[in-house]
């Protein structure tokens, strides 16, 4: 940090903040926003979650148990003629699906991207060819149809980003009412890893003539398999 530059800016800011006309700035920080109570019955939550995600052209699959969930993932991989895939390594549900796909002869590519040098470029190129990415999720958000993915060891960012099809496996009880609820349940969620992403539907753009088209940089398809 350039200390002199910092000190110059800080001094200017303190003078400015005190002098400027800032409507409503005299009040203290308003604290946490308290919202009118939500209905939180799990049956309502999953229904809302599915409704919201499907309205964005995402797919929601229900599976009574892990076996059924794995079967759904296999069918999705099949439908897309998948030969290689990228998957989280430390998630129980995802591990079951990955082993099953590997038994069927599909190749699981390593997630690890080298920090620097030509190895970095070649590992990216290798991962870049995967047709399918499989991840877990920390939370599903009913009010927006979102999934919340925290990265960490064994839980890469690229599995939900580079392949054209992204499959998320999540247990029913991880679906909560909203992002506010997720943060209340897990206060260090946002900063536990170097990256947290809240994904709300497939990648999309409406830049040209305000016409929607999907899969511009991220996945064009997102499937959420809800177990339980």
């Amino acid at each position: 940090m350039n200390t002199t530059e910092r000190e110059r800016m800080r001094a200017a800011l303190d003078r400015a903040s005190a002098a400027g006309f800032l409507p409503e700035a005299a009040a203290p920080h308003p604290g946490r926003f308290v919202q009118a109570a939500d209905t939180v019955a799990p049956a309502v939550l999953i229904e809302r979650f599915a409704h919201e995600l499907e309205s964005l052209a995402g797919h929601v699959h229900r599976a009574p148990d892990v076996e059924a969930a794995v079967a759904i993932v296999k069918r999705i991989a099949d439908d897309h003629g998948t030969r290689s895939f990228l998957a989280w390594r430390d998630d129980d549900l995802v591990r079951e699906a990955s082993s099953s796909l590997e038994r069927d002869g599909l190749v699981q590519k390593p997630q690890n991207v080298a920090l620097a040098g030509p190895e970095r470029v070649s590992s990216l190129a290798e991962i870049g060819t995967c047709a399918l990415g499989i991840t877990g999720a920390d939370f599903g958000l009913a009010d927006t149809g979102s999934v919340v993915l925290g990265c960490g060891p064994g839980r890469g960012r690229l599995a939900s980003l580079l392949p054209p099809v992204h499959v998320v496996m999540i247990r029913l009880e991880r679906i909560v009412a909203s992002l506010a609820h997720a943060l209340a349940a897990d206060p260090t969620l946002a900063s536990r890893g170097s990256n947290l992403v809240v994904i709300t539907g497939p990648s999309r753009t409406a830049d040209i003539e305000f016409t929607l088209s999907r899969g511009v940089h991220g996945p064009r398809e997102i499937h959420v398999v809800v177990v339980g």
Partner: protein, 470 residues
């Protein structure tokens, strides 16, 4: 009258462009309707907006403290924070980072701040290739055009325009430009190669969280995630006012931002970066630099326009503005167009740099009504008009007129005589209380709408008569 101001000439040209008018009507109409529906669906929307406004106000009052907290957190995580007072300082920091790493290719996700400081030009001067990756910004860059909206930068382009551009500049084949999905897929393939080869990713910042040192970018396409993930080094350009104190405050802003911008409940990717890649993590950049940019903001903060810094850049004020809807973004000749820009641009760079912008408004107040944090834009436009007169900017006849009025208004006898004269003189022009045509310079008004006829007898005369009668 001297030559018409540049804004007027650009506005007239834009308003006469039927294709542009159609595109603006369609896009701003859809965005407005989306916003209205998304806010109506939100429980407690009004309370949420009040809350968000108070968070912004509090943060700006204590901005220095929160920036310190943010910087300490970023550095504790192994990131580097750079403080840049001017645009030139900020550009120098990024160019220095890039040249020190011998970078050849920089990928960028959308950042209005990078356009404000004209970063691309400087990087290119240093021999570094810069690729914009937001589809709209990519097209703007390819065509050497400028964005005309802060959310939908190429609202002024048609699909045919894009098809021609892709064929001429990128050698796209017929099937690559057959329709919008084909053009999108074509751009995806091309930009994917750039993402995987890039040495540096430069992103903007929607919000910086003081308590955690997190950097938040929201995108729909996913280019924001790629920019901050595949290159080994990430540079985040952040205006100093982008700070929120806590993750809970961030959540409040996120609930309002996408709903106000496009009517989405959340953007597709809300990407929260907290420091560089950590031990044991499998991907992400190993180096993170955050550039905190002032560039006029502390001067703004010290004055009566400080409230414009509450802005969270949703663009709702552009979409609702009757002036923006007719004239489009380029007419403003400013990185930030529309009502927001009409305050921000003169606020950051001085009125002399943008003397027309505060006049480019009917002061109808629609911008204040849709603003998620209820910024009183009309108040600040009026304040800027006052400064404009005080600084002797703007057309001479306005100053002359104001002077003449001041002279008259401070001389009651002359004032009453003048009012009576106007009442009599205007009588032949009036039809049912309205005048359809007036002589110059008032013909500028009646060219487009009628003018209310002055009362036959002024109020002061009626008042005097009543008092006598009592």
């Amino acid at each position: 009258m001297s030559q018409a101001p540049a804004f007027d000439r650009r506005a007239a040209a834009a308003a006469a462009d039927a294709k542009l008018g159609e595109a603006l009507r369609f896009t701003t109409g859809r965005l407005q309707a989306g916003r209205a529906a998304a806010l109506a669906e939100l429980p407690d929307a009004d309370a949420l907006r009040d809350h968000a406004r108070r968070v912004r106000a509090h943060t700006l009052r204590h901005l220095g403290r929160y920036l310190d907290q943010f910087a300490v957190q970023v550095e504790a995580l192994g990131g580097t924070v750079h403080w840049a007072t001017t645009a030139a300082d900020a550009v120098a920091v990024v160019v220095e980072i890039a040249t020190r790493r011998a970078a050849r290719l920089v990928v960028k996700s959308k950042s209005m701040l990078s356009e404000e400081i004209e970063l691309n030009h400087a990087l290119e001067q240093a021999g570094i290739r810069v690729v914009e990756t937001d589809l709209g910004e990519f097209i703007v860059q390819l065509a050497r055009d400028r964005p005309s909206h802060i959310i939908t930068p190429i609202v002024h382009w048609t699909r045919e325009d894009v098809a021609v551009l892709f064929r001429q500049r990128l050698g796209a084949a017929e099937q690559d430009v057959a329709d919008i999905p084909a053009m999108t897929a074509f751009a995806r393939r091309l930009l994917r190669r750039e993402f995987l080869a890039a040495d540096i990713g430069v992103s903007g910042v929607n919000f910086g969280v003081a308590s955690t040192g997190s950097i938040v970018t929201v995108t729909n396409e996913g280019n924001g995630r790629l920019t901050t993930t595949t290159p080994p080094l990430h540079v985040a350009l952040m205006g100093i006012e982008r700070i929120v104190p806590t993750v809970d405050d961030l959540e409040v802003m996120l609930r309002l931002l996408a709903r106000s911008a496009t009517g989405q409940k959340l953007s597709v990717y809300t990407n929260i970066v907290t420091g560089p890649r950590r031990d044991g993590e499998v991907d992400g950049p190993r180096e993170l630099h955050v550039v905190l940019v002032d560039n006029g903001r502390s001067t703004l903060l010290a004055g009566e326009l400080a409230e414009i810094l509450y802005c969270i850049r949703c663009g709702a004020c552009l979409n609702i503005c009757p002036v923006y809807q007719r004239v489009g973004g380029h007419t403003y000749d400013s990185v930030y167009p529309g009502p927001l820009g009409s305050v921000l641009t003169p606020g950051l760079h001085g009125l002399a740099a943008a003397p027309d912008l505060p006049q480019a408004s009917t002061l109808c107040g629609a911008c204040r009504d849709v603003c998620p944090v209820r910024i009183d834009i009309p108040r600040m436009l009026v304040a800027l008009r006052t400064s404009s007169v005080q600084q002797g900017l703007g057309p001479g006849w306005i100053r002359l007129g104001v002077k003449a009025h001041a002279w008259l208004a401070s001389r009651p006898r002359a004032y009453r005589a003048a009012l009576r004269a106007v009442g009599v003189a205007s009588a032949p022009l009036a039809r049912q209380g309205w005048m359809a045509r007036l002589p110059w310079p008032l013909s500028g008004w009646t060219a487009h709408r009628d003018f209310p006829a002055p009362a036959r007898r002024p109020f002061s005369a009626l008042w005097a008569e009543r008092r006598r009668a009592r």
